[in-house]
């Protein structure tokens, strides 16, 4: 025991290959959001045709996962789909944009987990859905948060050198969000 504790603990250097893989993970998840923001189509987000975001949100009522969430979708979201549609479009567009460049990455990873939970509660029990799609979505965002993926070939990596030496409140906040 004493012999083992005498061995100096050396932090494992992060290999370039590891950093590249973390960046690929981040950009891959960004592309997922970018591709899927495309079918959020204003102004009615599918209400007239019964498709698009309106259809998928209504799956929470047809195949409830969490009854209070389904009641919220029925009473609040679907009657105001134009408002919630824009909210979804901007959140998912932001997820794609910021994860792609790796800016405020940890903040956007948390947003991604939140959005994944909302999607999961809507469609988990819908027919032909593979539950692991949604579990994996949440887990990849967890990995992005855990690895602070913007520090691997992201804008966070470049700007943290500036933020670390800046006394401003914004810089301190960005250090936490990245």
């Amino acid at each position: 025991m004493s012999g083992a504790s005498a061995v100096p603990v050396v932090a494992l250097p992060v290999a370039r290959a590891t950093r590249i893989m973390v960046a690929v993970l981040r950009c891959g998840v960004a592309l997922m959001w970018i591709q899927n923001v495309a079918w959020k189509v204003p102004p009615d987000f599918g209400r007239t045709q019964g498709n698009g975001l309106y259809f998928w949100a209504s799956q929470a009522i047809a195949h409830p996962v969490l009854p209070p969430y389904s009641a919220f979708i029925e009473a609040v979201v679907l009657p105001n789909i134009e408002v919630f549609g824009w909210f979804t479009l901007l959140v998912e567009g932001g997820l794609g944009a910021f994860l792609l460049i790796g800016l405020a990455t940890r903040f956007w990873a948390v947003v991604g987990i939140g959005q994944t939970v909302a999607i999961t509660l809507s469609v988990l029990f819908a027919p032909h859905e593979w539950q692991w799609s949604y579990y994996l979505m949440a887990l990849t965002h967890l990995a992005i948060f855990a690895t602070a993926a913007g520090r691997s070939y992201g804008v966070d990596e470049v700007l943290r050198q500036r933020w670390a030496h800046s006394p401003g409140r914004v810089a301190r906040l960005m250090m936490k969000l990245s």
Binding site: G93, G94, L100, V158
Partner: protein, 131 residues
Amino acid sequence: MKRTQVGSRAFDRAGIFLGVASIVFAGFVFGAQLPAEFDFVHIEITGAVVLLVSGTLAIGGGMMRRPTLYAAAGALLIVAALVQVAGLAVSLRPLGGDASTMSVMGGLGTGLLTVALAARSLIRTHSFDER
């Protein structure tokens, strides 16, 4: 006043990197020929031209160590993203594409502008220190 750019090399490299990414995304103008599974971003001719011009500007700015150039590229992309959002609201697509175009342009534009502003503030700090 002597122009000092010590320490801004990382920002210039980021400008070049984001410029290259911009040009790569312009390549998705051919994405319609791909299976839907690989057609990640919907870019049409006008959007591709904006991405190419911005990318070229950003790469040039990075190589010549002129943050103003990659700031201009970032500003152009952000304006294009805002035009796309406004277009989506009124069902007009001046740049073609859809919300995925907005997301890519907004992201790359924000990255370029943020890096350029940080580089410029670094240059100002060094210039002030020298006086």
